[in-house]
């Protein structure tokens, strides 16, 4: 048995900060300014009137993390501020970005792929940007940027998490319903890729084409629609906009579990996550906002907390110091998922466990036992180093 003992070598900064007196007396010596830039998306019509997208989704996650950081900072003389800029649909993102970047080195981005890339290219290498809104594989591969880290998981991570659960349950024959939009197709592609990766078989596929009001017609339409599928264990639904998927379950021709965009789902965060102290984070968020915490809120929270953790441990607000620490093996973010979170040094993606959930309970936390990886089991989820075409991070 190897014994491990690390005599500590770091001094005052890491070991002990003797701040006399209570919180109020601590003096601010280090200012950390974090920006939050959002490009608003046009509202998209969906069949259900339930589950509105919260107007301050993401922003409120960042705000909770800010208050977490400020509490810690008060003991250390670190002062944090968050400036939120939300650009309305059709508004001038480039102007807003230029303004925010002029005064902020650390900026959380909530916007689609092309906008993320534009802002990253504007920002230059003396900034750290955190993508907390775009799940595209492209941003973690050929379209990556050196100044861009990702706290929201890519779609492929969610797909891999789901497929691990299906494989563990030996539900290996899948039927796939793919929605009509480009985003639905991208989601279906990542399901296909992930199914191949884990040796699952998609035995039948169908395009979703309905334009009827499924709230009334699902019980008639869906059985017929799913009747033609070859024998399958589960029905996989790719519905990126949360439009029709909810009407599939319990309306299928055969009694099969529905997974993917409804039923059994892999999500970065979900209201049913309660282990590992998660209940505390959920209740702090709900007390603050009066609503449930979404994956986008969690991604924004993780970005701002990552900044806080890096500042706390390095005692610096300098971009090069923070970036080196964030991408080092020393960085470990405690994020209520039972394992430390860290950034992948080859594309800047935050490695994180993914809860696999249904509406009422967490079913599993991926990676599941038995899915091993030479580096870290968390790297069984999403784009691994050898698969990534990202060059910006160097060797």
């Amino acid at each position: 048995m190897r014994r491990l003992l690390r005599r500590t070598i770091f001094l005052a900064l890491f070991a002990c900060v003797g701040v006399a007196g209570a919180v109020a007396e601590a003096r601010a010596t280090l200012e950390v300014k974090i920006g939050y830039l959002r490009m608003e998306r046009p509202p998209r019509p969906v069949l259900s009137n339930l589950d509105e997208i919260p107007p301050r989704r993401g922003i409120e996650g960042a705000e909770l993390a800010l208050s977490d950081n400020m509490t810690t900072g008060a003991f250390l003389g670190h002062d944090y501020a968050l400036e939120v800029v939300s650009v309305p649909v059709g508004g001038p993102l480039d102007e807003a970005a230029a303004q925010l970047l002029a005064t902020h080195d650390l900026v959380v981005l909530d916007m689609p792929l092309a906008d993320v890339q534009m802002v990253a290219d504007m920002a230059g290498d003396q900034k750290i940007l955190f993508n907390a809104g775009a799940r595209d594989h492209e941003l973690r591969s050929a379209g990556c940027r050196a100044n861009l880290l990702h706290t929201i998981p890519e779609t492929g991570m969610e797909a891999d998490a789901l497929m691990q659960v299906l494989l563990a349950k030996k539900w290996t024959k899948l039927a796939l319903i793919e929605g009509p939009t480009v985003e639905d197709q991208a989601l279906a592609d990542s399901y296909r890729k992930s199914a191949r990766k884990f040796g699952l078989k998609i035995v039948s596929e169908k395009q979703w084409t309905f334009d009827t009001d499924l709230r009334r017609a699902a019980s008639r339409e869906v059985p017929l629609f799913t009747q033609g599928f070859k024998d399958h264990d589960v029905l996989l639904v790719a519905d990126a906009h949360d439009d029709f998927a909810r009407y599939i379950e319990h309306n299928t021709w055969k009694p099969r579990p529905v997974v993917g965009s409804t039923g059994l789902m892999a999500r970065a965060w979900f209201p049913v996550v309660e282990q590992w102290g998660a209940a505390q984070l959920q209740s702090r968020f709900k007390d603050m906002t009066g609503r449930d915490m979404t994956p986008e809120d969690y991604a924004a929270w993780a970005a701002v907390r990552a900044v806080g953790e890096a500042v706390t441990r390095t005692g610096s607000n300098q971009v090069d110091v923070l970036r080196a620490y964030l991408l080092s093996d020393d960085f470990a973010l405690a994020a209520f998922q039972g394992r430390p979170l860290s950034f992948r040094a080859w594309n800047g993606q935050l490695r994180q466990p993914l809860p696999v959930v249904n509406a009422r309970a967490q079913v599993a936390s991926a990676p599941l036992d038995g899915f091993e990886h030479a580096r870290n089991p968390l790297d069984t989820l999403g784009t691994d180093q050898v698969e990534s075409a990202c060059q910006a991070f160097g060797e």
Binding site: M1, V23, Q280, R284, A334
Partner: protein
């Protein structure tokens, strides 16, 4: 014959107060399981308030204090009758606490509130509330009663509180998610476990400087799952036993050389530990498997698993 039966019955009835016991709080059952140290059986299951976690006896074992987290109260129980005598004002969501050597002041970590609350158990009044980091949990008091430690899970610090002025006089950064703290060697050292960091940090009490850090490594278990939580020392303070959470092991540490001497396999997600009065046996609460592992201290081997309630969390010994 009748007389014999009567005597036996009397003995049986009296036995709960005679034999040494381990009291275990069951977080998801709102109960305490009482384990007889000799027979290793659960002899009683006692209802408590909601979500009992930290439990501790006063020095003459005439009272048991229970953190009933979701009842937002510390309950005071008569351990002989199992009756809740009254609640103490505890602040919101009490998780862990420590009773000062004066047997009078209970220092409580309020997990949801970023506050440490001091309660006078006689007047049943809150004496002070001290702002600490986010999600305070681990609590320790120095043997001289002059310093109380609160560790905060999300702020990743041990806060050093002067018990007279109720002021924080130092804050020590520790690794991620500190869970438990203990003073050792007449209070000259403070040990703090960090669950997500996977380490135990040792501080010099006089300077509050970190002087050493202990890491763990178990063959076949990913380092991320080795998560130190509760720990206990033998009375001579030469050996420490550390609960390592979801790695399902307890580590044995030589507290002088700080070398890890071995690992003992226990139940799933092991939280806290308590010794039998003679320190020959160690009892671990295993949250996920809902049981208690009994370890033979001399051989460092598990000898029995005892089923208790759902999500056993805290453990306390009553001689």
């Amino acid at each position: 014959m009748k007389r014999f039966l009567l005597t036996t019955a009397c003995l049986l009835m009296a036995s709960p107060t005679l034999a040494a016991e381990i009291w275990v709080s069951n977080e998801k059952d709102d109960t305490i399981s009482v384990i007889d140290v000799e027979t290793l059986e659960v002899t009683r299951t006692i209802p408590t308030g909601e979500r009992p976690r930290g439990i501790t006896f006063n020095s003459d074992y005439s009272r048991l204090y229970i953190c009933a987290s979701d009842s937002d109260a510390v309950q005071v129980m008569d351990p002989v009758t199992g009756e809740i005598l009254h609640d103490l004002p505890s602040g919101e969501d009490p998780e862990q606490f420590v009773l000062a050597p004066d047997n009078r002041h209970l220092w409580i970590a309020n997990e949801d509130d970023a506050v440490t609350t001091v309660v006078d158990v006689e007047t049943r009044k809150v004496v002070a509330q001290i702002n600490v980091g986010i999600e305070p949990e681990g609590m320790a008091v120095s043997p001289d009663g002059k310093t109380v430690i609160t560790t905060s899970e999300t702020t990743n610090m041990a806060h050093w509180i002067d018990t007279e002025s109720h002021q924080i006089y130092a804050n020590s950064l520790v690794d991620a998610r500190p869970r438990h703290a203990e003073f050792v060697n007449e209070g000259t050292e403070l040990w703090v476990s960090a669950e997500i960091g996977g380490t135990i940090s040792i501080f010099d009490t006089a300077t509050q400087q970190e002087k050493a850090k202990i890491g763990f490594e178990i063959q076949g278990v990913h380092p991320d799952l080795i998560q130190p939580v509760g720990f206990e020392f033998t009375p001579d303070h030469k050996t420490a036993f550390v609960a390592l959470g979801p790695s399902n092991h307890v580590a044995v540490i030589d507290a002088e050389t700080l070398e890890v001497e071995g690992y003992i396999l226990v139940g799933r997600r092991v939280w806290h530990l308590a010794f039998s009065p003679d320190h020959t046996r160690l009892f671990t609460t295993n949250g996920v498997s809902g049981d208690v592992t009994v370890i033979d201290v001399a051989s460092r081997k598990p000898v029995k698993t005892i089923k208790v309630g759902r999500f056993p969390w805290g453990a306390a010994m009553k001689p």
